[in-house]
């Protein structure tokens, strides 16, 4: 048997998805925050046991271990990265503090500054200057570089970011600075901007490089620990790591650019969604992941989750590498409900998993959304919770909501219902704000809900947004692990090249793409793939002069690397044609009198690896599911007796008519009034709106 293992480490649980043949086995265990690789190893041992194999044999049969980690995100959240210094061009010491003028809240004069990764004393400058055409305007003052090293050493700097103006055009000065730093500060971690993010403008590139330097040593040492452990346990292949772009790549690649694993956790879930949604016949998906602390929203368009490079503000720092776009609202099961000056508010503060909601019985005293669900009868203290690991308690819950009711002038049940309404409204508005940015009407999409709390709200959310169909995969609570398993090895990089599209230097364009292709070739070869296995998307970033944001599009998609014959005298004209088409599509107009410019070239390369087969279709005979019991619950239309169905009792073909509640092992699916749940041939759920306009049944 050949195995592939996907592993996703979250705040509370580490999720595992084991692929053997076309079958997927899911497993969850508690994370081990002190050394997360320990939880990974104990989970792998459990999988080996489940397969009836000794650990070394199981590991030897693993073709790939694919891993999504939050170690980079945690470093930025906790601000406990390496002591970092920055060497930059004389005259430009303070860009990191200026942030291009950006501030997150235009109304709050008490907005706190972000904590500086590189306070001014560790931002040092050297005389040198390269111009936009790559020419050297002022030579590098090497003595000044050595003096910088001396000053950084005195401050015990562990990691040095180097970012000089126009290094993406001519990296000679940055390379020389890196050599000197390596000589003067042996053992220090070095991040060069021309390697981390070789494109303009300077703040974007510098910020990304500084973040890379800050998280780099932590990510590297964590991965080294994990690699040592899996090797010792008998694993023989390269460890693959999830990136924010939604692709995975080898540890070797990640170690040169650790910033690429930031935000990779949510990306795994989106990739899993895209995969499952497409398999079931839905290419345009609104993906909602509601866990304990947050509500993550993302979109799959045309079967793909687009990774956007550019203005990605992440934990208050700009990180310009490609990221699958995931928007996070502070609305999860643990979000705290309270009254602020006569208005009910939900979140963003969260009770987390410790002490957690009041109904967890672990000392929580502030009412949360999970508590509201208990009040509404959507959750129950007589049913199993979280896979039977503990039972919910009503102690203190009604009293907490009565305190809200007292302020608002009504009962505890009314208070819980209003909290439910508020969180619903917050989520709908969050979705609308994100789809608006893309000019998309959510009503045209299919919703895919996952995370422990997603399926409890999905259908009512969908109704509010005009969506008639919701997919709830059975694997939804471990979706991010599944995502790492289906994600393909990917390298997505770009190089700046600013030129009017009517005067392109063909040689220059070729050499940039050739350089990117050579890098991809090297890393894929080291990972055990051949150049012929690689799919290459040659892309241009283009814009009208004066625009800051470029549009990225394919000019050539090829199987295999290296054939640049398509870069000919017509490339500029073809670029303008495609660009104008995209501009019309995106922005509704083109500027006929203006020649667009090329801002850069990009090469996205990937290799297809085996993924689980996702079943679909509705071929099993339709029949109503068995109702286990009823319970008093309020599903938006007042309290009444509502059917309760056990997920374990359901098989393909079963139907559950709303109002009803389906209790699954790790989640609760609410079938709201006017909705119906169908179980497809793979055992996954599809919620369909039966009242009001319903589109023709699809999915097979």
């Amino acid at each position: 048997m050949v195995y592939r293992v996907g592993i996703d480490i979250g705040g509370t649980f580490t999720d595992f998805a084991l692929l053997k043949g076309s079958e997927v086995v899911l497993y969850k265990n508690l994370s081990t925050p002190e050394d997360r690789s320990l939880g990974v190893m104990s989970g792998l041992e459990k999988l080996a046991q489940m397969e009836g194999l000794p650990m070394d044999e199981f590991m030897a049969q693993c073709d790939a271990i694919v891993h999504g980690t939050t170690v980079a995100d945690n470093t930025l959240i906790e601000m406990n990265g390496a002591v970092t210094g920055l060497i930059t061009t004389e005259g430009f010491r303070d860009e990191m503090e200026y942030r291009r003028g950006y501030k997150e809240n235009v109304w709050d004069v008490r907005l706190q500054p972000p904590r500086q990764i590189t306070p001014r004393r560790r931002r040092l400058t050297v005389p040198e200057r390269i111009l936009h055409d790559g020419s050297i305007h002022k030579p590098l003052d090497e003595a000044a570089v050595r003096e910088c090293c001396r000053r950084l050493q005195k401050q015990n700097v562990e990691s040095v970011a180097i970012s000089l103006l126009f290094s993406f055009v001519n990296p000679a000065h940055e390379q020389r600075v890196a050599q000197i730093v390596a000589e003067e500060m042996p053992g220090v971690h070095i991040s060069c901007s021309h390697q981390v993010l070789p494109r303009s403008p300077e703040y974007d590139r510098t910020s990304t490089t500084v973040v890379n330097a800050y998280i780099g040593p932590r990510v590297t040492s964590y991965l080294e620990r994990l690699v040592t452990r899996v090797r010792e346990a008998g694993y023989r292949n390269q460890l693959m790591v999830m990136q924010a772009s939604g692709g995975v790549m080898t540890r070797e690649y990640i170690e040169n650019s650790p910033v690429r694993v930031l935000a990779s956790g949510p990306a795994g879930g989106v990739i899993g969604s895209a995969y499952a949604g497409v398999a079931k016949g839905h290419e345009n998906l609104l993906c909602v992941d509601m866990g304990g602390t947050s509500y993550d929203i993302s979109m799959v368009l045309g079967g793909a989750a687009p990774a956007v490079a550019g203005w990605n503000i992440h934990h208050r720092y700009l990180v310009g590498v490609p990221m699958v776009q995931v928007e996070t609202l502070g609305a999860g099961g643990g979000s705290i409900c309270h009254v602020n000056q006569g208005e009910i508010e939900v979140g963003p503060a969260s009770a987390g998993s410790e002490p957690g909601p009041i109904c967890y019985g672990r000392g929580g005293t502030r009412p949360t959304i999970t508590d509201a669900l208990l009040m509404l009868g959507i959750l129950s203290d007589t049913s199993e919770f979280a896979g039977g690991s503990f039972a919910l308690t009503r102690d203190g819950v009604a009293e907490a909501f009565q305190a809200i009711g007292d302020e608002m002038g009504y009962s505890a049940e009314d208070a819980a219902f209003d909290c439910w309404r508020m969180v619903n409204a917050n989520m709908s508005q969050g979705v609308r704000r994100i789809t608006a940015g893309k000019g998309i009407d959510p009503a045209d999409m299919c919703m895919l809900a996952y995370g422990g709390n997603g399926p409890a709200f999905a259908a009512i959310q969908a109704e509010d947004l005009g969506i008639n169909r919701v997919l709830v995969p059975k694997a939804s609570p471990t979706f991010s692990a599944l995502g790492t398993l289906v994600a393909d090895p990917t390298i997505d990089e770009e190089r700046s090249y600013l030129v009017s599209a009517d005067s392109v230097d063909i040689g220059k364009l070729k050499s940039l793409w050739a350089e990117l292709a050579e890098r991809a070739h090297r890393y894929f070869t080291n990972a055990g793939f051949t150049a012929a296995q690689v799919t290459a998307k040659y892309q241009l970033n283009m814009r009208y002069p004066g625009q800051n944001w470029a549009l990225t599009f394919n000019v050539r998609v090829s199987e295999g690397l290296g054939d640049l014959a398509f870069v000919d005298g017509e490339i500029g004209r073809r670029g303008i044609e495609i660009f104008n088409r995209y501009h019309m599509q995106e922005y509704g107009h083109i500027r006929e009198d203006e020649v667009p410019e090329i801002a850069g070239v990009r090469l996205a390369t990937s290799v297809v690896t085996p993924s689980p087969t996702v079943g679909h279709g509705f071929n099993a005979p339709a029949r109503l599911a068995r109702v286990a019991r009823t319970r008093r619950a309020n599903l938006g239309q007042g309290y009444r007796e509502v059917d309760i169905v056990h997920g374990a009792d359901l098989e393909p073909g079963h139907e559950v008519k709303g109002p009803a509640i389906i209790e699954e092992t790790f989640t609760t699916i609410v079938v709201y009034p006017g909705w119906q749940a169908l179980v497809d041939d793979a055992g996954d759920y599809e919620l369909v709106r039966t009242a009001g306009p319903v589109v023709a049944a699809g999915g097979s």
Partner: protein, 605 residues
Amino acid sequence: MSFELNAKLAARREPLPTSAEVDPVTASIIRGGMETICFEAATHLGRAASSAIINQSNERNGSIVDAHGRLAGAAIGTPHLTFVSGLTVRYGLMRKDDYDWGPGDVFLGNDPDCGGGHLPDYNVYAPVYDDAGELIMVQCLQAHQGDTGGKDPGGFTLEATDIFTEGMAFPCLKLVHRGERRRDVFDMVVRNNRFPSFAGDLAAMIGGVQHSVRLLRELVRKWGSDKVKAAINYNIEHTERRVREEVGQWPDGTYEADVFVDHDTIGSAKDIRVHVACTVSGDQLTVDLTGTDDRQHLVGVWNTFANSRGYVMTQVVAAMDPGINKNEGFFNVVDMIIPEGCIAHPPPNRPAALGSFHPACEITEAVCVALSSIVPERSAPQVYKMGMPNAVIGFDERGRMWMDQGVDSRTCDTSAVQGIDGWGSCPVSLGNLLLSQVEDAESRFPVINISREMTRDSEGAGRWRGQPGSLNVKQVLEPTTAMAWMVTSRHPLRGMCGGDDASPYSNRFKVGTPDEHKVELSANETLPVGSVIAYQYGGGGGFESPLLRDPGAVREDVLDEIVSVERARDKYGVVFTGSVEEFDLQVDAAATAARRKELRESKAA
């Protein structure tokens, strides 16, 4: 006569008539829905517009005004614009029968004498009717346009003595009638603009409000007109209640401030005065600008009435809990007295372009200074004190004009507030505007940016200090024209509660040559190849006496080369052992105590 008109436009409006009741949560959900739609409209404009000031700098605002002309909801952009756009719509509402308003119509207004700000701030708005034909609300989109068809590109003419020099004014112009674009009107508006991208921007604004009107009609259908009207009333009343609670906590009394603009735009007069008296009486606030300069010969320093109201409100809002929903409820608590004929309430036909910079910002600053004694924890001026960034203008080989402007504005007016040192590059209210970058500018224009670092010892000192100013040095590689207008040199941005003022702005041309000179008022010069210009930005003001600053924080500033050892000793009274070079700097507690005593005594004497 615009004074009478302004009084009518600013008069308090009644709640919308409705028989429906609404619970707080439903009201909140409807408000959220309206704000999200407003956000969609502004986002649509951002995506569709072709001019950089809209699609990159985000200088665009969405707001919803109810059928009585009350601000009912707002989204993104800058607070300064949020509180201005309502009066243009009120003018339209006054004339709605004359102008045959109906479903599907879209209007344009920008007239300074009919509720507008300065001419470039085009307000495109569209009424929302319910299915029974009742007007419920109006969706507005306001955006700064790159030109207004006046004498100078951009619409800023230093010597303008009337509005007609600056371009075309539209009181209330119907662009779309019952869903059909009026081609003749549209083309005439487009003709009166220099930039070819303007037609697309105007079309994008129309598209944005039409998109929003569709969604708002759906919202009205979903909840019913009566419920929506009740929700608007509730939300405005709720904000009013919240604002009254805030004002009610402030001690009764009158708090005054004077702030000065160095000179008018042609230098015909100095020390242009803005006087503000903020009176708190119970839960009511009155902002009285009586005493503000009203010399009729002043040039270029006339701020429109609507702008003056908006710029007062921007600072009042900053002084309160940022979580209060932004709507008409604020205006219901704040009485404004803005004397007719003063520079904050000009007679008809005065130029308006540069007045939106100064004295507009000084009005905001004066409100901040006045309130600083009672709301110190929220007193940071929301201003932009530069006259204008240096504009460098030339022509390319095809004869097309290019202009490099604004790349170099850094650390402008980033003042401290109680407990927080000034930080970043501008006050929070301008935090949506993204500054351009050297690598983009130099790829387009024949210039080299030499420096834009913070300047040591230029912070407004204080217990909490302002962000230092920055020196922005640029060299031109071809013969070019450079334009500048300087203010805030003799009257820098004020510190708060005993904190030092920010450092003055200054500007030097042809640096390092025998012709080097300081720009005192304005400049419009030809620069030969290789010329260097250097603009010193002022940074932010301090908060409370620098002698109260934590010596440990001064040590950090010295290590960060924001403050020199000498300034630490003479301004903050902090004395060190060790050296900056060796990073072993330590506060000498005894010497510091002695030095602070000495400085306090010499100040007292």
